[in-house]
């Protein structure tokens, strides 16, 4: 049944469009390749609270081969803020993937250089 609905969705109009904006600020946590990141989510300019955020990362120059196990972000100090610790494999530019679920569904990709 689920796959039948998915098949119908192939030809459906986009009804679930809910674009989310995100800011990402990552700081070295004091250990090799480990970074603490603060994620700020907005929807229509307002902070988006109550979302579940899964944070993964992929190296743009080697997509799918160098990636990290996604971690769940926890709510931060302010509304719309979330915190996650990333354990990377190496320095360089990473495409950080924020997969958002809960009140809205979306995926935002931010390129961040980790040195």
């Amino acid at each position: 049944m689920r796959f039948f609905l998915c098949f119908l969705a192939f030809f459906a109009a986009p009804v679930l469009a809910q674009k989310i904006q995100a800011d990402l600020d990552c700081k070295h946590a004091g250990k090799d390749f480990i970074y603490d990141c603060v994620i700020r989510l907005y929807r229509g300019g307002e902070p988006l609270a109550g979302a579940q955020v899964s944070v993964g990362a992929d190296m743009p120059s080697m997509p799918m081969a160098h990636n990290i196990k996604p971690v769940k972000a926890r709510p931060g100090k302010k509304p719309g803020e979330y915190e996650a610790r990333l354990d990377l494999e190496m320095h360089g530019e990473w495409a950080v993937k924020l997969r958002i679920s809960g009140p809205v569904r979306d995926q935002v990709v931010k390129n961040v250089r980790f040195d």
């Binding site: 192939f10 986009p14 743009p60 979306d106």
Partner: protein, 294 residues
């Protein structure tokens, strides 16, 4: 199934398309370091079709495959006159040219409140077709594997047909194949175009899985990996490159506790494997032995 497992299996499926395309060209006797370019053509084409032109995904995928095949044929026309290492170098050069073209490609249109489309080195964001239609990661995984299974069935049918035997004959000795009346140039061009379409299909799915693509996604590392999968898994059967992808991703994930050393460990494993099995695990001899036992 948790999100991580779904992600790993989706990556295995997506990698398999480009690995199969490199394997197909290898079986026809040529070493291509350029399949990542057609993966990129597919990704950009499908992204433009759905995110900018509003096409449904199936149509976008078909357009991407057609464009991937056309691009591969266009590259193949002048380069297939070359042999061996010269062909490999020419495909690498062509792939780099295409990647640089992606870097120079700027075409954005307003979709709602934001601009969508390729923006040179800044990449192409907002390929959100899957999210806008409520597809879950598990649905996408099923889609990738169904399409992959379909492609594998087609390749197995070709492999066991007269056409498959002809392609293998061409790969083993093109001069002998030509003397047997095979139109070597046309057949090779057909194989290269089919490889381009296969890679483009993978690219189209990759773009919609990732929602974001950029020129660096399609650089030489992807080409090396895709070629290595056929060589690791074996050239004797269509399942060889699939085995190569599963070993690569599987071993890399299994040795994740080794953290930054895991790429060194993996590189060592590949080197040892290629010393002892130069045509891969499922080479022609292994496949012949397996068929005799079944």
């Amino acid at each position: 199934m948790d999100e991580y497992a779904i992600g790993v299996l989706t990556n295995v499926g997506l990698f398999s398309f480009v690995a199969l395309s490199a394997w197909l060209v290898l079986v026809a006797g040529e070493l291509s370091f350029g399949q990542q370019a057609f993966f990129g053509v597919g990704a950009y084409a499908a992204g433009i079709c759905t995110a900018m032109l509003g096409w449904p995904l199936p149509l976008a995928v078909l357009a991407a495959m057609a464009l991937g095949a056309a691009a591969a044929a266009l590259v193949g026309l002048p380069t297939l006159r070359l042999r061996g290492l010269y062909f490999a170098m020419a495909t690498l050069a062509a792939a780099e040219m295409l990647r640089i073209l992606f870097e120079l490609f700027h075409w954005q249109i307003a979709v709602g409140a934001e601009k969508v489309g390729p923006d040179g080195t800044q990449g192409f964001r907002g390929i959100r077709w899957m999210f806008e239609r409520g597809f879950e990661p598990l649905d996408f995984l099923a889609l990738v594997w169904m399409l992959l299974a379909g492609m594998v069935v087609i390749l197995v049918l070709i492999e066991n047909s007269r056409l498959g035997v002809t392609i293998r004959a061409l790969g083993h000795d093109p001069d002998l194949a030509r003397s047997a009346g095979i139109d070597v140039d046309r057949l090779k061009l057909g194989v290269v175009a089919a490889g381009g379409a296969l890679a483009a299909l993978g690219g189209a799915l990759f773009a919609h899985h990732n929602t974001y693509i950029e020129p660096r996604n399609f650089d030489i590392m992807l080409g090396v990996h895709s070629l290595a999968y056929g060589l690791i898994g074996g050239l004797g059967t269509v399942f060889g490159p699939l085995l190569g992808v599963m070993l690569d991703i599987g071993v890399l994930e299994a040795i994740r506790p080794l953290q930054e050393y895991r790429m060194i460990a993996f590189g060592g494993l590949v080197a040892v494997l290629l010393v002892f099995r130069p045509r891969g695990l499922l080479d022609e001899q292994a496949v012949h032995w397996l068929k005799s036992k079944l």
